[in-house]
């Protein structure tokens, strides 16, 4: 066993070393460039409100990533380079996924030979679902979930089989290392659907009523412990989405035509001929790269059918074995869910999807349930090959090595050649670049310069268009805007679908190009600087040419509205000369003079506003994005109730009191997070205490 585990660790290290041999950070798509500046991402997850991107928004489930960001940003601050941290993270995830698959196969099929089990590990790493949905998509929470799934399954099944509740405690302690996966709500739900299915099918093949009840108790205990140790993100998230319902974005998501999306995606990816091959049909397009076409070629297709055929043969042959029936039930259920609402029996998926609102996150079934199918197939693969090899008797070794060769040379090829880290969009379609990114040093200088100017303002980045961006660097980048990675200051740099904010963004560039007063508009957004970037592939992204924007800024500079204040490589910074700190300001309602306003920022979710010389009622404006979660209260904690949306995007409170006094502005869900942190911390201490007690006193009856 030790040899195989060591082999997995070495194989994962070799794979990661190949990927990072050039010492570049990898980044693309929705993830941006996390490992370039992890601290900035940590700040987003630190509180329930993040000040950027845009005009701010609730952090939502991103809070679940806080421990991972904290650990990684601490290591980065100690001087460990980003690429090395990314390599170590990927090595940890690959290794832990591999070891968990290995242990899980041995737990389910103890007679399986070690080298055959290694085949299951390689199959889990390299199968087409993993290659496309994990490695090619290259989203960190997807990779974390890819590792989390076998790890959690191993501990959960171990607990079910032994009937010892001890494993539920271990499972929940280990979960913190993978909490990043839970920053995507769909994965939290998927995890519990999976654990429920495991319990259900385990119980189905259980003989005694007593152990059936015990299995359900074990499931419930695991769920309760999960909620307790994860209170730090579950409580604020529940408050935002359900208890208070202050999350505007979630409300928009629920109103979207999710059923239409499900239908379209199921039609595209839910064909049984594709699902049986574990193939994501949408990945192959006429303009796909060469390696994708090879990956979807006839020989590879035939091989995939052979792999699944071997598994089906094994299931049929050993249909009287309870383990095969248990895993087979999970396999066929995963299969059924992965195809979405495609025939046959797609009506069942449709019914559940339509009637359970929270399951609308599964509008792309292949992408989510594919993880389950991939794991089930990998778990079946080793014993299936082993049994088939036994039937072939003296050709046993040859058959094993042939399959090993096929899995490594064909399925694994895109991973260890880095082809999986390329895409059809420039510059990632260049095999020598792919997802490798090298950020020019002038961005660090520009960020430092902006940070030194304070934190009471925003900037606008030009050219400004949709969230997707392409940077023309030595090792360029294609994916979502890199605002969080590149700048520590809050700013407006791309369009989003966030309500209210989305009404303002389309106006910005057109106002700049017009003859209208632009600086007053910028002031209303508390914008002090304009950043002009000349290293963007604006033609590809159909954006305004930086040259045209620079000409317009120069014209406004001649009128005394703006001034070019700094140049860093391809980035120039222009100052709004009429800027004043508009984080808070008073809006006049009578002829009386306005009060003086000062404020202290405690953190992104709490401000204390000092008001002096208040002679008449006025409207207090706060420039973070409007959200019902923002609450104003006086020193004696009396809430000021008349909260409204002002100036399209901001928060306003009608203040009727006179004199000198303070007002506290807070984002209410933060209190839930503070409470959740205490509950989670207490739960961890209790669980660790219990585990220590078990280990010190060697309570075998418990362990």
């Amino acid at each position: 066993m030790k040899k195989i585990i060591l082999s997995i660790l070495i194989l994962a290290a070799v794979l990661v070393s190949i990927l990072f041999k050039e010492r570049y950070i990898f980044g693309t798509a929705e993830d941006g460039l996390i490992f370039y500046n992890i601290s900035n991402y940590f700040h987003q997850a630190e509180f329930t409100w993040m000040e950027y991107p845009g005009l701010g928004s609730p952090s939502l489930s991103l809070i679940a990533a806080k421990p991972t960001y904290f650990l990684l940003s601490s290591l980065q601050q100690m001087g460990i380079p980003g690429f090395l941290l990314q390599a170590i993270t990927l090595w940890f995830l690959l290794s832990s996924a591999g070891i968990a698959v290995y242990l899980l196969v041995l737990e389910l099929f103890p007679k399986a030979e070690g080298k055959y089990v290694l085949l299951a590990v390689l199959f889990y790493w390299f199968n087409p679902i993993s290659i496309v949905d994990v490695w090619n998509r290259f989203l960190l929470n997807y990779i974390f979930f890819f590792a989390l799934l076998p790890v959690i399954s191993f501990f959960f099944i171990k607990g079910l089989k032994t009937g010892k509740f001890f494993w539920a405690f271990i499972l929940n302690i280990i979960l913190i290392f993978y909490s990043y996966a839970l920053s995507y709500v769909a994965f939290s739900i998927l995890l519990w659907i999976w654990l429920f299915l495991i319990t259900l099918f385990y119980v189905l093949f259980d003989k005694s009523l007593k152990s059936m009840i015990s299995s359900f108790k074990y499931f419930l205990l695991t769920l309760i412990l999960f909620i307790m140790v994860n209170c730090w993100w579950i409580l604020p998230l529940a408050n935002l989405n359900f208890l208070g319902g202050t999350n505007n974005t979630t409300q928009v998501f629920m109103k979207q035509n999710n059923l239409g999306t499900l239908q379209a995606l199921s039609e595209k990816m839910g064909h049984l001929t594709d699902v049986f091959k574990l193939i994501n049909a949408s990945f192959l397009a006429p303009d796909s790269l060469g390696w994708v076409k090879y990956y979807y070629s006839v020989p590879l297709f035939a091989m995939q059918y052979v792999f699944v055929g071997i598994i089906l043969y094994f299931v049929i042959k050993f249909r009287k074995d309870p383990t095969v029936l248990f895993l087979g039930s999970l396999f066929f259920t995963s299969f059924f869910l992965t195809k979405g609402n495609s025939p046959p029996f797609g009506e069942i998926y449709n019914f559940i999807f339509k009637n359970i609102l929270i399951l609308q996150v599964f509008r792309n079934p292949f992408e989510k349930f594919g993880f389950l199918l991939s794991l089930c197939a990998a778990l079946f693969f080793a014993p299936s090959v082993y049994e088939l090899s036994k039937r072939l008797q003296n050709k046993m070794h040859a058959f094993y090595y042939l399959l090993l060769f096929i899995v490594v040379s064909s399925l694994g090829l895109p991973l260890y050649t880095s082809l999986a880290f390329t895409n059809k969009f420039p510059p990632t379609n260049d095999y020598s670049i792919g997802y490798k990114v090298k950020v020019p040093s002038y961005y660090k200088d520009a960020d430092n310069w902006l940070s030194n100017k304070g934190s009471n303002f925003r900037y606008i980045g030009f050219p400004l268009k949709d969230e997707g961006i392409t940077y023309k660097w030595e090792k360029g980048y294609s994916g979502v805007e890199l605002q969080v990675a590149l700048f520590s200051t809050s700013g407006i740099i791309h369009k989003t679908s966030v309500p209210f904010f989305n009404q303002i963004i389309p106006e910005i560039e057109s106002l700049l190009m017009s003859d209208n007063d632009f600086t007053s508009f910028a002031n209303s957004l508390n914008v002090r600087y304009f950043i002009l970037r000349n290293d963007i592939d604006y033609i590809l992204r159909d954006m305004t040419s930086p040259g045209i924007l620079e000409k317009r800024l120069t014209e406004r500079a001649q009128k005394g509205e703006v001034k070019k204040v700094a140049i860093f490589g391809q980035v120039s910074i222009w100052e709004n000369l009429k800027w004043r700190d508009n984080t808070f300001y008073a809006i006049k309602q009578t002829e009386d003079s306005l009060p003086l306003i000062g404020y202290e920022k405690i953190n992104p979710t709490k401000y204390i506003v000092h008001l002096t010389n208040v002679n008449a009622p006025f409207l207090l404006f706060f420039s973070e994005l409007y959200n019902k979660g923002w609450k104003a209260s006086s020193e004696n904690r009396d809430e000021i109730n008349n909260h409204s949306r002002v100036n399209i995007y901001g928060n306003g409170w009608q203040i009727n009191r006179k004199g000198d006094f303070d007002i506290v502005i807070e984002f209410a869900p933060q209190k839930w997070m503070d409470l959740g942190v205490k509950v989670s911390f207490g739960s961890y201490v209790l669980i660790l205490g219990f585990l220590l007690y078990c280990l010190v006193f060697r309570r075998r009856s418990i362990v």
Binding site: G309, V315, K320, S329, P344
Partner: protein, 73 residues
């Protein structure tokens, strides 16, 4: 709808003739092999049809196999 009819048909066949799971699993497997071959030679829509029927047979056979196991214990 046709797949539900097929499933119900299998259900009634099973009630009448009391067949074991293997009677459905084996044809399901052979149909899977046939569908795979048809898919490889690029007759995708026919392959898909075969695959769906194969899936129904496999699911039905598997459910019967589970029932047999539960009855035997």
């Amino acid at each position: 709808m046709i797949y539900w009819v097929l499933f119900l048909g299998l259900f009634f066949i099973n009630i009448k003739y009391r067949k074991n799971g293997i009677y459905f699993l084996k044809p399901g497997f052979y149909l899977f092999c046939t569908a795979s071959f048809i898919s490889i030679v690029n007759l995708v829509s026919i392959a898909e049809l075969f695959m769906r029927v194969s899936f129904i047979l496999l699911i039905f056979g598997f459910i019967l196999a589970v029932k047999e196991y539960r009855r035997s214990t």
